[in-house]
């Protein structure tokens, strides 16, 4: 019989696990909070594209022996700007512009990385994360950028809510809608960049939208939805890391699978809006009619 306490504590006795847990919980929370705006504004595709598009930035920084995070951030901002540029006068639809820029920069990233000798293991780390390789300094950067994003969302909460719900009112109230939209994109870019090490660019979109969508199913107000999404993001990271430790599966995948399972459970069992609830209501209705 295994001691449950030892079961919980033994992974945490490793320093790399402590750092990995701390980093992924921060990322889980920050992704979920910014992800609420991504879900409500229908920007999931843009978030995914931005994540993949940072690959050339990371590769270039690696080749030039610069800072990977700085390279990633520069690439993310460039991508957001170029998508805006291609779709500015409606000649090309925005989702088409996103697709072009996204695939093009992914290809550029792969091309750059293929010149590196340890190409395949490096590419795997960028694509799917390497949470157990988070160093002391990485953790500080993740915590610092995460705090910056959360404080910005708190400070601009009413503006971000308004431009998402009713951009027309935002214009009549003379808010700088364009500037606010771009700030949100920069915050999204920052979030994606610090998620690089935990879940990787291939899976970060799940951390952005799955906890937020789960929260959306459970509550009907934005602030509680955000808090719930943050809690789901954090729990998914913890559960996922333990699963990864004991079942010896890739940590990023384990985290994403955990929050996907939570989403499916909520989708089926959620009070009022769940599938099961709907079935119960339908059968009750049939009974009363009969």
């Amino acid at each position: 019989m295994i001691d449950p306490l030892a079961y919980l504590l033994s992974p945490v006795s490793y320093e790399f696990m402590q750092r990995g847990l701390a980093a992924s919980v921060i990322v889980g929370v920050v992704c979920a909070v910014i992800g609420c705006f991504v879900v409500l504004r229908g920007m999931a595709f843009l978030g995914d594209a931005m994540a993949h598009a940072i690959l050339p930035g990371v590769a270039a920084a690696y080749l030039l022996q610069g800072d990977l995070l700085v390279g990633a951030l520069v690439a993310a901002v460039l991508v957001a700007l170029s998508i805006g540029y291609f779709s500015r006068d409606g000649q090309i639809k925005e989702d088409t512009a996103i697709g072009i820029v996204f695939a093009g920069s992914l290809a550029l990233g792969v091309a750059l990385m293929s010149t590196i000798r340890t190409y395949s293991s490096d590419l795997t780390h960028v694509l799917f994360g390497n949470v157990l390789g988070v160093g002391e300094r990485d953790l500080w950067v993740i915590a610092g950028v995460g705090a910056l994003v959360l404080v910005s969302v708190l400070a601009l909460y009413k503006e971000f809510t308004l431009i998402s719900f009713d951009p027309i009112l935002a214009v009549t109230l003379k808010m700088p809608v364009k500037l606010l939209h771009n700030s949100l994109l920069v915050l999204l870019a920052l979030t994606v960049v610090v998620s690089l090490q935990t879940v990787g660019v291939g899976l970060v979109v799940a951390m952005l939208i799955t906890p937020a969508a789960t929260g959306y199913l459970l509550v009907r107000r934005l602030a509680p939805m955000m808090m719930l999404a943050a809690a789901i993001g954090a729990i998914s990271c913890i559960v996922g890391l333990y699963a990864s430790f004991y079942a010896n599966i890739a940590s990023g995948a384990a985290i994403v699978l955990t929050c996907t399972v939570i989403f499916v459970l909520v989708y089926v069992f959620a009070p009022n809006r769940g599938v099961l609830w709907g079935l119960v209501r339908a059968s009750r209705l049939a009974h009363t009619k009969a």
Binding site: L40, R41, G42, M43, L46, G84, S87, R88, G90, E94, A155, K158, E159, T161, L162, I163, S164, F165, D166, P167, I168, L169, V171, T172, L173, K174, M175, V177, H181, Y216, V219, R220, R221, L222, M225
Partner: protein, 271 residues
């Protein structure tokens, strides 16, 4: 001084004019029905007043202050189709958004803002729904939430874009009663509508548009076979009816402008 003074204004999107050389002066507390066929420029006029369409030529002033200045406050009540009813906000949240213009950066709604929001909800008889998500409300209740928000903005002018499109007859009647109830607040109101009969019987002033101003004034002065023919063109049928004239106009279906505007709202959101 007129509440709203539009002189020689040409309005449109991008560089394309939709409504040309419009000049009207609207007195305080006036309730104006803006009538015209699909594509006449009703929505363009409202969007320009709200700051969403461009003023290509001419000027618009609100109590003498140029439109776009900090003190010229316009409240725009959107068409129902333009609102995302699944967004996770409550009725009170929506009405409080009307107060954001008075708050500034880094400020949360204060107690006075909440009191004002509640007063506006009470005035429209839906204070009991304050905590409900907007998606749970009926069409008429949703309409009233946005009217309450317009009042909470404490605006100089209220614009209602097709408020009667897609709502049932009792709700329409209720909305019309509310409009006359709001008259004593002294806030001028512009209401765009397809319904000529309603415009004639329930509004002080009538503005007939068809890409330009056809006529503006009291219904009795404005409604003439010549003006109606110019306004509706082939979109209306006229029959001699006793001593008068029977006009049949199209009232069905949201105009194309709605769909256009919706597309624009979405592209603005992401673009």
């Amino acid at each position: 001084m007129p509440a709203l003074e539009i002189s020689h204004a040409t309005l449109g999107y991008g560089g394309t004019p939709i409504l040309s050389d419009l000049s009207v002066a609207i007195p305080p507390a006036a309730q104006v029905a803006v009538v015209g066929p699909n594509g006449a420029g009703k929505s363009t006029l409202f969007k320009a007043l709200a700051g969403l369409a461009s003023i290509l030529e001419g000027t618009i002033r609100i109590y003498g202050r140029p439109l776009g200045s900090e003190e010229a406050r316009v409240a725009y009540v959107p068409q129902r189709a333009e609102v995302d009813w699944q967004f996770p906000v409550t009725v009170l949240d929506v009405v409080l958004m009307g107060r954001y213009g008075h708050l500034g950066w880094l400020r949360w709604p204060r107690r006075t803002d909440r009191e004002i929001a509640f007063r506006c909800l009470e005035r429209l008889g839906i204070a009991n729904l304050a905590r409900h998500p907007i998606g749970e409300l009926s069409g008429g209740q949703q309409q009233r939430v946005f009217l309450a928000r317009a009042l909470a903005q404490e605006p100089d002018v209220i614009l209602l874009d097709e408020p009667f499109a897609g709502v049932d007859a009792p709700t329409q009647e209720l909305a019309l009663d509310l409009l006359s109830d709001l008259r004593d607040r002294g806030i001028p109101m512009l209401v765009s509508t397809h319904d000529l009969a309603q415009a004639i019987s329930r509004f002080d002033l009538l503005m007939l548009l068809n890409r330009r101003l056809i006529a503006f004034g009291r219904p009795s002065e404005v409604v003439s076979p010549a003006n109606l023919a110019q306004t509706f063109g082939s979109q209306a049928l006229f029959y001699p009816n006793g001593g008068g004239l029977l006009a049949i106009t199209d009232q069905c279906c949201p105009p194309e402008e709605v769909i256009e505007a919706r597309g624009r709202a979405r592209s603005r959101r992401v673009g």
